[in-house]
């Protein structure tokens, strides 16, 4: 709820809007490609295997379950970590190096509130929605491959797709995406604020952000899956 109040407060509205735009809309391009191809690859791989048993129609289930539960949030997390996370880290690092952070501190403007919170709020809103987007595109990608490569009719595919997916799967996935968003912003800002002098410091902060985010996303993704499915 604090997020909502934060977003709606006058002085943060514009910044949050900008961050929503940067985080969400600007990531749609790369995310579309990634999502569609993940869905297509999943469909093709499982489809070729299932074809040996004459079960091609089950790619609907395979693609949807894997996308909704795991790949959707995971791939969204990785793409956003590599693009938005890296960008945040680079920006924060540059601001640290050029004393902009110090300037804010001297002005008693809390950098966390002023810089981190809008990004965090944007991430919390955008990550689940981008994951929905990734899921939809992944499932559609799978449908296209199913139709063209494996001869699975679209209605059969979609019937099969919703067969074994539960709302729990969907929402656990979205929760996971939210957690990934928090991880990405936290790591990026922390690394950015810690950046040492000069352009090298910016590079180091960016690289570390991507690496640490990836590893944390992997580990936390596993733990959340374990938490909800065992």
């Amino acid at each position: 709820m604090w997020a909502l109040r934060f977003v709606l407060s006058r002085r943060n509205r514009r910044e949050v809007l900008v961050q929503l735009f940067v985080t969400g809309i600007k990531s749609l391009g790369v995310l579309s490609v990634v999502a569609a191809f993940i869905g297509m690859i999943l469909a093709l791989q499982t489809g070729l295997e299932l074809r040996r048993y004459g079960q091609e129609v089950n790619i609907g289930t395979a693609v949807t379950v894997v996308m909704v539960r795991e790949m959707g949030p995971f791939m969204t997390g990785l793409v956003i970590a590599a693009s938005v996370g890296a960008a945040i880290a680079a920006q924060m690092a540059t601001m640290t190096v050029s004393e902009e952070i110090a300037a804010l501190e001297v002005m008693s403007i809390d950098p966390v509130r002023f810089l981190v919170m809008p990004r965090l709020a944007a991430m919390l809103v955008m990550m689940p929605l981008l994951t929905v987007y990734t899921n939809v595109l992944g499932v559609l990608g799978g449908a296209v491959v199913g139709k063209t490569q494996l001869g699975v009719a679209l209605p059969a595919y979609f019937d099969n797709a919703i067969q074994f997916v539960r709302n729990k799967d969907l929402y656990v996935g979205l929760f996971k995406a939210m957690v990934f968003g928090v991880i990405i912003v936290t790591v990026a800002c922390q690394q950015g604020f810690q950046a040492s002098e000069g352009a090298v410091g910016v590079g180091v902060a960016t690289r570390r952000t991507v690496v640490i985010s990836f590893l944390t996303i992997l580990a936390v993704g596993y733990m959340i899956t374990r938490l909800f499915y065992t």
Partner: protein
């Protein structure tokens, strides 16, 4: 002038990365004066400045602002003490994604409840006063170094601080622009009665604007003198620093005559 110093350093020591960057530094900045800190790169003068606004916390000693100890203040008290300062950073430290106008308006928006029209009036007045009103809609990256510094100063003083800290205000600027910045510092003092602390390695600028000059070398405070006394100083470190900038005793006399 008021007897109470604006800023007082009390045997301040600070180690960074295992190296003593400040070692038992004590001095006072009087109200209303322009206090210039000079020294070579890495001598500790910027670190000194950062201690004044608690961007760094001393390992030993204390830093007083008026009668409040900023080096031990926390939370709201620290914020209140910091509000007494305006800081012009070396690279102006403007937020790159905001326009000049928004940069200067930022403190007003963040820390006051003024309406947007009031904010606009104050921001434009300040930009006008510093001669950068034309650039209001531009982004910092599109401005020259001198203009960035002016905008940075506008932002530093928009809330009407008592003390303004200038970190290398003339570094990276051509001599003509540098003198303009010097004039600007003097003018700010004239107009608002500000206490100013200027950190610079530009001795010409220091001699031109400073009421008192402090030389810091390898984390130690060598001398605090008026410009004239500074030039006549027999201290070896001061002499070395002066001669490195081609200022001899003769030149000192000329400078003295020039004033």
């Amino acid at each position: 002038m008021n007897g109470e110093p604006a800023i007082r350093f009390e045997r301040v020591g600070k180690r960074l990365g295992g190296r003593a960057v400040l070692d038992g530094v004590s001095f006072e900045v009087r109200r209303g004066e322009i206090f210039v800190i000079v020294g070579a790169s890495g001598s500790g003068k910027s670190v000194t400045l950062k201690h004044m606004v608690r961007l760094l916390t001393p390992d030993e000693g204390r830093v007083w602002v008026g009668c409040d100890c900023i080096s031990e203040a926390r939370g709201g008290e620290l914020a209140r003490l910091r509000d007494r300062f305006g800081v012009l950073f070396q690279g102006a430290a403007l937020l790159q994604w905001l326009t000049v106008y928004d940069n200067v308006a930022l403190p007003l928006r963040e820390k006051t409840t003024l309406s947007e029209t009031e904010i606009e009036a104050r921001v434009m007045a300040q930009l006008e006063a510093l001669g950068v009103a034309d650039a209001a809609d531009r982004h910092p990256a599109d401005l020259s170094g001198g203009m960035q510094k002016r905008v940075g100063l506008a932002r530093a003083v928009i809330l009407g601080p008592e003390i303004v800290l200038y970190d290398e205000p003339t570094s990276g600027l051509d001599p003509v622009t540098s003198r303009r910045i010097d004039d600007m510092i003097l003018e700010m003092r004239e107009r608002h009665g500000l206490t100013s602390v200027v950190v610079t390695h530009d001795l010409h600028s220091a001699l031109a604007i400073g009421d008192r000059i402090a030389l810091i070398d390898r984390g130690r405070l060598i001398e605090v003198r008026t410009p004239a006394d500074f030039l006549r100083s027999d201290n070896e470190v001061v002499r070395a620093f002066l001669s490195a900038q081609y200022i001899t005793r003769r030149g000192a006399w000329e400078t003295e005559m020039g004033r």
